[in-house]
Symmetry: C2
Subunit: 341 residues, 2 copies
């Protein structure tokens, strides 16, 4: 049998006063509600003594606030999202919010289910890395005036708050850098999805390619939930049938992992002859052979902006103009993208 926790009622009974009084004192309204200094002190001391902590579930039911935020990502095991999760966790706790993380696998049904689940738990707000087509669900949230913020990707046709990075410019810069280093046949390996982050990255690549009058050589892999070895075979045939390739840009981190495997296994020595850039940095890229050039997204800033926005939404009851934040990624240049000879 679980020991009964002390409630505000117990305190009131023990002190022979009403729960109202206790509640007022606990909520710092003693003065405003004309509770005498002595009684206030007495209550506070007793509360301290019995180590009373209010039941947050009851508070939530009464106030409608849960002090819980949801951070929904594609996959919390992905290092990019894990990193962000940690940053957001820290910022949220500082403001008295807890964070429920969940992974949607970029799947619409899962996203919707999760959102409904959390609505019923009265979470206070959502930071969402949206799957391809959940505009309606997002719209519903907005109409119900629940704070929502899209993250990492957004819907161009939907007027919402979002925090993303300058994806097009980033790939563009990456390609320019490769061109500067003498690479001419630059391949791009991405996912076959129309989500903004990927479309933007692709557009950046295409624009840069056309700007320099280069050939487009791209591989668009279907999105699959099994992240490991995604597109293994496709990449191999792609590289075999395009032997002119002298540089590759990968659109996201797990594609890069597979890419490195394929290259190292099936094309020995190639890694040291081609230009190689990936989206999303990893600790190990610094010491990899060759060290890997990466587009690093400003995770700390992204988390900070996200929290700023969601907190603002939480505070104001009145409609406030949507904020659309686009942060700059930086190209961390390492050996893999330099002409080496």
């Amino acid at each position: 049998m679980r020991k009964k926790r002390v409630s505000i009622k117990d305190i009131a009974a023990d002190l022979n006063i009403s729960v109202t009084t206790v509640s007022f004192v606990l909520n710092g309204k003693a003065e405003e509600k004309h509770i005498s200094k002595q009684l206030t002190k007495k209550v506070l001391e007793y509360v301290e003594k019995v180590n009373y902590k209010p039941n947050q579930i009851a508070q939530s039911l009464r106030t409608g606030e849960s002090k819980i935020l949801v951070f929904m990502v594609e996959d919390i095991a992905n290092s990019f999202f894990a990193k962000l999760a940690r940053l957001i966790e820290d910022l949220a706790y500082k403001k008295g919010y807890k964070v429920l993380f969940c992974s949607n696998d970029n799947d619409d049904n899962k996203s919707k289910e999760l959102i409904h689940l959390f609505k019923n738990r009265q979470v206070d707000g959502f930071i969402i890395v949206p799957s391809p087509k959940i505009q309606n669900t997002i719209t519903n949230l907005i109409e119900e005036r629940i704070p929502v913020l899209l993250f990492d990707r957004y819907y161009p046709e939907l007027d919402t708050n979002y925090v993303v990075t300058n994806n097009a410019e980033s790939t563009q810069k990456a390609i320019e850098h490769l061109v500067d280093n003498g690479f001419k046949n630059i391949a791009y390996i991405t996912l076959d999805t129309h989500q903004s982050q990927m479309e933007d990255r692709l557009n950046g690549y295409l624009e840069a390619i056309s700007k320099y009058g280069l050939q487009e050589i791209s591989l668009r892999l279907p999105f699959s939930k099994t992240i490991s070895n995604q597109g293994d075979k496709e990449m191999k045939t792609f590289l075999e049938s395009n032997p002119e390739i002298d540089a590759i840009l990968f659109a996201t981190n797990y594609l890069t992992e597979t890419g490195l495997e394929v290259i190292k296994r099936d094309f020995p020595g190639l890694i040291d002859r081609i230009g190689f850039i990936t989206f999303d940095d990893s600790h190990l890229f610094k010491t990899y052979s060759p060290s890997i050039t990466a587009v690093a997204q400003p995770t700390a800033k992204m988390a900070q902006e996200a929290m700023d926005i969601i907190l603002k939404l939480l505070k104001s009851d009145t409609e406030i103009p949507n904020r659309k934040v686009i942060l700059e990624s930086s190209l961390i240049i390492r050996d893999s993208s330099k002409r080496r000879f």
Copy 2:
């Protein structure tokens, strides 16, 4: 103004019946409570029509159950824990539980604060990667009969449920493997903490060393919250002052990251001459140069066992015997630990 959600009361009013009846129907007790088939059907259909979903906060308040589990780790950004988080998330959701992840930075105060925080939120259970000295807080939880499970590390003096891996045997095997490959001066780089997982790993190393009559060469770095470049300088001087070292075993993943940086930066070529093994595998180790041998903990099994245990605890009101699960890690042998010449 947030649109008011439909409540069980609304439904009762709309159908001109009592909330009790609605509740019974919704909870599948229609038959047991002798609610007629027709009325049951009517209620169900109406509920479906207005898309009613019970308010879980109210349910929690009434039942004392929140359907929320806490998974407290050292750092959710650490790939080992992020991976586990995802596995646990998936298992929990299948059973109707949500998971709150939080990071304690291996700090006792933070751990305690978090635990208190969540107790007030009436979470149903805790899976905890405990910081060095929170035995008392854990004991309190147990005494309050709240389901707890220690994870990744445990307190030998505390009789609790836990899921860990065979750390001592793992490092022992790792050293044996290095010995088999002709390495003789095997260094061990670890954290200066007395937590079980690290003590066990150290003991495994020491036993193996003494078994083969080798010299102990170990570096114990103070634990620090800033994970990046932890012990950078110490490692450098350690390697400089122990030039006889021909192999290194790293006790945990972030030490390995720093280790690789130091070796690649300050001791060019060394990585190809020494034996190198790390605890915790990474995708990139497979294609690293040289590919890195790693002790891989059975994350999927760990998560599964953890959920099994916590679910059992959640179900039974009666005391059940503590389960102490020790799972086997596997040594994934790659080039870095082989004698190469």
